[in-house]
Homo-oligomer: 190 residues x 2
DNA sequence: AAAGGTAGCCATACACCGTATGGCTCACGC
DNA sequence: GCGTGAGCCATACGGTGTATGGCTACCTTT
């Protein structure tokens, strides 16, 4: 079917998106260009468009697959405080694997906006455990996700001090603040 | 001095940066281009470079002046909880004035990184009031700023529900969580 | 076997971007 | 009068995403 002149086999979306992910890891969304990507794959730039509708669609595809790959802690019957900590750590871990990608996702939060994502379901489950009433679930999970995302974002942008262990301490403090905050909010005032 | 052929008076950085801010408000950093800006000012694109070193420098200038214009609540001897709430509201207010600009600042946090900024001094003062020990000040202020920034960011990107008052409720919950969290963390465990 | 369809690839071109280079004009100080 | 420099601009370079249309090699249908 008129395979590339220079390459043996035809292109595939897997090949394209994994190369694109490599480029994004190296130089962010701006470091990824269709021309550079084509060069990487030894192909004419326009050939890519036979497998991908546009650069945006390609990036979105990468975001979606990366998001789907995120590993979340299962319900282990631990206290909600510990489960919340575990979730935050998993989220942090996931962000550090592909920082540029993660930053892009949180600047174009279509991917994260899907409330049926496991992330939201796990978070909701933990918040129910913590005693958050049903009517407050959506708002509370939004706020907590924004909190953790904000912290991770500032870390990825080098806004936090870089001494060894400082990031872990910051994340620990963040989780502790959130846990104490939840304990305070879900308890009768006083 | 060879003023523009089409315009009467020479350009000025104020004129340039205010027009640039207008473009950024309309279409984000990507909506601002030197060519569009020049067209807006009825000038040749290259003329801008007599007043501004580069597009990046221009954007940074705009960020800096906008940041300098931020109005922060003064110390009114209110309880730290209320002062923290007032600070968060002021920050939120400031962000909503120029969303695109604010987003850009928080993606290139050079501007916000200057610890001598009034924002950080006010925040530190309030946290001292709240009983945060000196050694924890930097970390705590970083985390809290990241929290609030994260929430504002998710709001600006339309991640929060748009029902009337919902944003205020989310911000209120965020502040309450933070306050309760601080109360819990600065108090002996139990 | 001939005809048609289509998957895959690519050459060319367009409109946009930031900006390097160098030259023009005019107001000023000497 | 004359140099200097501020302000402006024409041109050009290398980059971007992608629309258009044409080429080839395969597959299916007849």
């Amino acid at each position: 079917m008129a395979v590339s002149a220079r390459r043996g086999a035809p292109l595939s979306i897997e090949e394209i998106s994994s190369a694109a992910l490599r480029l994004m890891d190296a130089g962010g969304v701006e470091g990824l260009s269709m021309r550079k990507l084509a060069a990487e794959l030894d192909v004419n730039p326009m050939s890519l468009y036979h497998h991908v509708a546009s650069k945006d669609a390609l990036v979105e595809l990468i975001c979606a697959t990366a998001t789907a790959r995120m590993r979340l802690p299962a319900d282990d019957d631990a206290p909600w405080q510990e489960q919340l900590r575990a979730l935050a750590l998993a989220y942090h871990q996931y962000a550090r694997q592909h920082p540029a990608l993660w930053i892009h996702i949180h600047n174009n939060p279509r991917v994260i906006a899907d409330r049926t994502m496991p992330l939201w379901q796990v978070l909701d489950r933990i918040l129910r455990l913590a005693g958050v009433p049903e009517g407050e679930l959506r708002r509370t999970s939004d706020v907590l996700h924004a909190f953790v995302s904000g912290l991770i974002l500032s870390e990825l942008q080098g806004h936090l001090p870089e001494e060894a262990g400082e990031i872990e301490r910051s994340l620990g403090l963040a989780v502790e603040l959130i846990v104490r905050g939840l304990e305070g909010v879900t308890r009768p005032r006083g």
